[in-house]
Amino acid sequence: MPLTQEDIKRLQEKAKDIRKTIVDITFTAGGGHIGGSLSQTDILVALYYKYLNIDPKKPRWEDRDRMILSKGHGGLGWAAILGEKGYFDKTLLKNFNKTGSPFGMHLDMLKVPGCDASTGSLGHGLGIAVGLALGAKMAGKKYRTYCVMGDGELCEGSVWEAAIIGAFHKLDNLTAFVDRNNLMIDGPTEEITQLDNLNDKFASFGWEVLRIDGHDFTAIGGAIEKAQTIKAKPTMIICDTVKGKCVDYMENDYKWHYGGLDSDMRDKALACIDNYYAKA
């Protein structure tokens, strides 16, 4: 069922709160992967607040949908959502990155309820997701597996190895996303290695490919629902996004891949977010 106007309003409210939490954690943690956390937010919000079949009270429930954040450095933004969903006491997030905390920059499934795999080393998540989806088929389980990758991450050969095998096993219970913000750490993806044309690449590997605006909930919802109807192959949803989305001084600037905020910068960032949603 397509998203209603109310759905979209609700998701936007959530996305706004999550983005603000991302800014707050970046401030208290003394730094964080804020750019990519802001670009992935709408994809994760749509999944967690609309589509995933999950129960935060039963994080290890066998039949839950699985969500693998292959771009594990987005752990900051992911933790903000898991905390808000009630997987753990969200006041714990003030210890993000602090000594002895369950939260490192990259989330650890042994320490963070709701985290289905310990990622952070890029190029692992799609393989894990393929394994989970394959496992579901072998066990006759109905759960779906979702995986969110960075675009720079696609440089890793292991992504393409997993893509080949995912298509070979016709994993129509697997939906993956690319957070296509066009930036990695050292600069724009197209100036370092040139990744385009991603649609053709994944299609030629046997995937259903959908291309959407990764900040438009109608489009995100439509693509997720479409993927659920595709038979006999996995779906790759390539989401055009903006790194640092909603914070004007961070947007599209690769230097904000990782950064720290002083209180002025934090306040400015929070105001930008309010502003953005006031206009929306």
Binding site: G72, T99, G120, G157, T193
Partner: protein, 335 residues
């Protein structure tokens, strides 16, 4: 520039190891047009980008593709170039281990690997970024030389020396700023020759990397307790300086090794191999990260947590001083 030195950086003692490395490599690049610098989207983080700014035509950023980073480096070496490759230690030593071993070490190619963010220097990042296994892995590769510099200045020395050393070299450095142990660079750094930082007759501390500073601090405390402590900076793990270890066995009979690495298979194990093969009695303890995955935290907190800081060393030394050792028959002949 001091005599015999191929690099010179002002106030190298105020820079991180990586910052010194980036600048030294750039200086070496001016003299050697065969040097090619390579990374996988970590130009800024590893500071190899410093070279890239000066010599963009000799700089290759692979994107986030560590395995090909090492195979392409091997190809460039076969084509007559001298690749210097940087990424985080966890990717160089673990993700790409077989590429390093088969493409570079087996073929004995002239590729230098400078791996940053090693050990627990990126402690806040979590287990996927910690690397407490690299010394173990790299020293098990035939043909590989393994160096763990104590500070920025020693990093400069190690990088310069590596460029004059045949075959593959792995140099392990950290992430942030750690206070220096050296004040000048011309102390005669040589690959394979440990530096005795201080002489002593009661006990020997053998350390490398960030633990050298901790050992120096510990020795000051132990001195006030009346102990005469020898400190050996074993910057080269392979080939290891056997002579200096055997001398310490004979002269102090008590040895503690300290490393920011899994206590298995690293510096302590390399030293233990030498001691055991000597057949001489020696009270011995290895300090390091226990055989576990490290918790999240700031490096200095973690040094304390895992007892590889000055306090932890003092505690271990006190325990070891109380251990009885049985002198073998030839005790006197040995010394």
């Amino acid at each position: 520039m001091a005599e015999g030195m191929t690099w010179s950086i002002e106030e190298a003692d105020k820079l991180t190891q990586a910052e010194v490395y980036g600048r030294v490599l750039t200086q070496l690049g001016e003299k050697d047009p065969k040097i090619i610098a390579m990374t996988a989207d970590l130009a800024k983080s590893t500071k190899i980008g410093n070279f890239g700014q000066k010599f963009p035509e000799r700089f290759i950023n692979m994107g986030i593709a560590e395995n090909s980073l090492f195979s392409v480096a091997a190809g460039l070496a076969l084509a007559g170039y001298r690749p210097v490759v940087s990424t985080f230690a966890v990717f160089a030593a673990l993700r790409s281990a077989e590429f390093v071993r088969t493409d570079i070490c087996y073929q004995n190619l002239d590729v230098k690997i400078i791996a940053t963010h090693a050990g627990i220097s990126f402690g806040q990042a979590g287990s996927t970024h910690h690397c407490t296994e690299d010394i173990a892995v790299m020293r098990s590769f035939a043909n590989m030389t393994v160096i763990v510099p104590a500070d920025g200045i020693e990093t400069g020395n190690a990088v310069a020396a590596a460029m004059d050393w045949p075959g593959p070299v792995y140099i392990r450095i950290g992430r942030g700023f750690e206070p220096p142990v050296n004040t000048t660079a011309d102390y005669g750094f040589q690959i394979g020759k440990a530096v005795t930082m201080r002489d002593g007759k009661d006990i020997t501390l053998i350390c490398c990397g960030v633990t050298v500073l901790q050992a120096v601090r510990a020795a000051k405390i132990l001195e006030t307790q009346g102990l005469s402590v020898r400190i050996i900076n074993m910057h080269t793990i392979k080939p290891i300086d056997k002579e200096v270890i055997l001398k310490a066995v004979m002269e102090t009979r008590r040895i503690v090794t300290i490393e920011e690495h899994n206590v298995l298979c690293g510096l302590g194990s390399a030293v233990a191999e030498v001691i055991v093969e000597s057949g001489k009695a020696c009270a011995f303890t290895k300090l390091g990260i226990p055989d576990q995955y490290v918790i999240v935290g700031y490096p200095e907190d973690l040094y304390n947590h895992y007892k590889i800081d000055a306090d932890g060393i003092v505690e271990a030394v006190s325990a070891l001083m109380g251990r009885e050792i049985e002198a073998d028959e030839n005790w006197d002949d040995e010394t």
